[in-house]
């Protein structure tokens, strides 16, 4: 059985010399839902950007869905990994919701009928079918987050990677997003500061700090370790 995500001894330094990742090793099994915790600047986003080759691997290796992440596989890797950015405004760059959700399928060269059915399927999954003709610019933050998830679901990814999905949402929008994440069947890696959501949804947690994985294990165990959480700037609930 191949692991859906297999990161081995990955290190990365930004052009300004800042060492963002040091020797990160992480594997995620198919269907597993994993929370990625850590303070700002811990390297969570840098790690996420490696999973679909937005950042080029410097040392170590990254494998997703059985594909090595390299220049040759880039297209298939990006179709397999649905990356949802923290700020939905970055994700939604088309005039209408339909155009945005259709971007991935059209880019892949699917036929028009397939594109339409993919869009319907993705919007139905996030329960936003009625929003097809809406203008992204006018949606609320909660609606934008759901549409942002739909824009990657339309690619039928094997893995969903979400960066701070609940940040900036009101309690109701947060609740409905948590329910949505629970329903989605994909393998997931979710970077978040929302510890209560982690306790509710994720069986496994990974803590990063200073570019390293400092803890990896069952959420119940990790989130009960007050000393560990405190040492890495996380709140104890």
């Amino acid at each position: 059985m191949h692991h859906t995500v297999e990161v081995t001894r990955l290190s990365f330094a930004y052009p300004d010399g800042h060492q963002a990742l040091r020797d990160v090793t992480l594997s995620i099994a198919p269907g597993e839902k994993v929370a990625l915790l850590g303070p700002n600047g811990a390297g969570k986003s840098t790690l996420i950007l490696h999973l679909n080759g937005i950042l080029k691997t410097q040392t170590g290796s990254v494998c997703v869905a059985g594909l090595d992440v390299n220049q040759k596989n880039l297209g298939r890797v990006r179709a397999a990994v649905g990356l949802v950015f923290q700020n939905p405004d970055d994700q939604l760059f088309s005039p209408t919701v339909f155009d945005d959700v259709a971007f991935g399928p059209i880019y892949q060269g699917l036929k028009e009928a397939d594109v339409r059915s993919r869009v319907d399927e993705a919007l139905a999954a996030v329960r936003m079918t009625d929003y097809r003709r809406r203008v992204s610019h006018h949606l609320s933050t909660g609606e934008k987050k759901r549409i942002a998830i739909a824009t990657v679901l339309s690619m039928r990814p094997e893995i969903l990677v979400l960066d701070e999905p609940t940040a900036g949402l009101d309690p109701r929008a947060r609740r409905s997003l948590i329910n949505l994440i629970r329903e989605l069947p994909q393998t997931m890696l979710v970077a978040t500061h929302d510890i209560r959501m982690v306790m509710e949804l994720f069986e496994r947690s990974v803590i990063m700090d200073g570019g390293q994985v400092v803890a990896d294990g069952p959420s119940t165990q990790i989130l009960a370790d007050a000393a560990l959480l405190d040492a890495h700037g996380l709140e104890v609930y």
């Binding site: 990006r78 179709a79 970055d90 036929k111 690619m155």
Partner: protein, 259 residues
């Protein structure tokens, strides 16, 4: 920036650097075509400034290639100025005649813009942007204009970051199917439409952002007037440098006009 030109009195020097650079550019612009001795002197000034700035000749000259497009704009001068013909050739039904005064005008414009760009590069590379704004204010440029330039500088980087994030989000969704069916990447018109949508979105968001920035400014008491603490006085040495520089440039200009 790694520059130390005029550093001993750097704080006070920027109100002097800006007028000197402007005076240099105005002098270059006012010199008549073909005033070769004056050009040589101007070149000597520009070269001294570049060397003294410690930026390195390569750094300045590479960036000075920015002048190239302006030179292109002057290209028609070669053929449109009347005078003794040097060379003539046919392109289809048209005959282009290269004239001697045309050539002089063209070379003059090219030289002058190249020299002006060098001075502007040294100014921009050795002066912190807030100092440049302060110098503009000291020159009594309209305050609103200075405020607009300042805000543009501040938010240019925010906008560029936003552009990169949008492009990154597009790249993240630019996938390929496992089995190759059709053409990947979509049609050219569709791609153009996507890019247009991105640009339009950026426009809308910038507009929204400007409203928010204005609201934040207004809620801190902004009334259209940018106020600052009084600037430190310009040291006498800098005044002397300004006077000497302006005088020298004036002499070059006179030399060019007389010869």
């Amino acid at each position: 920036m790694h520059a130390h030109f005029l550093d001993p009195y750097r704080d006070g020097a920027s109100p002097v650097k800006l007028p000197l650079a402007l005076a240099f550019i105005v002098t270059a612009a006012l010199l008549p075509p073909g005033a070769w001795p004056a050009y040589v002197l101007l070149f000597a000034v520009a070269l001294s400034v570049v060397i003294l700035s410690g930026l390195g000749l390569g750094y300045v000259y590479k960036r000075a290639l920015l002048a190239a497009p302006f030179v292109l704009a002057a290209l028609p001068l070669l053929f449109t100025v009347q005078g003794p013909a040097l060379l003539s050739f046919d392109i289809g039904p048209w005959t282009l005649t290269l004239t001697q005064p045309g050539l002089v005008r063209f070379v003059s414009v090219a030289l002058k813009s190249w020299l002006s760009v060098q001075v502007a590069i040294v100014l921009a590379a050795t002066t912190a942007f807030p100092d440049l704004l302060a110098a503009m204010r000291a020159l009594r440029l309209p305050r609103l204009l200075v405020a607009v330039v300042g805000l543009m500088w501040r938010y240019l980087f925010v906008l560029v970051d936003e552009v990169f994030r949008i492009m990154r989000a597009r790249d993240a969704r630019s996938g390929a199917p496992a089995e190759r069916a059709g053409r990947i990447g979509g049609s050219i018109p569709w791609r153009a439409k996507v890019t247009g949508g991105m640009a339009g979105n950026l426009m809308l968001r910038s507009f929204d952002r400007s409203e928010r920035i204005y609201a934040a400014m207004a809620s801190r008491g902004y009334d259209g007037e940018v106020r600052g603490l009084p600037r430190p006085p310009v040291p006498p040495l800098a005044w002397a440098a300004l006077a000497a520089g302006l005088l020298f440039l004036l002499l070059i200009l006179l030399l060019g006009l007389v010869s």
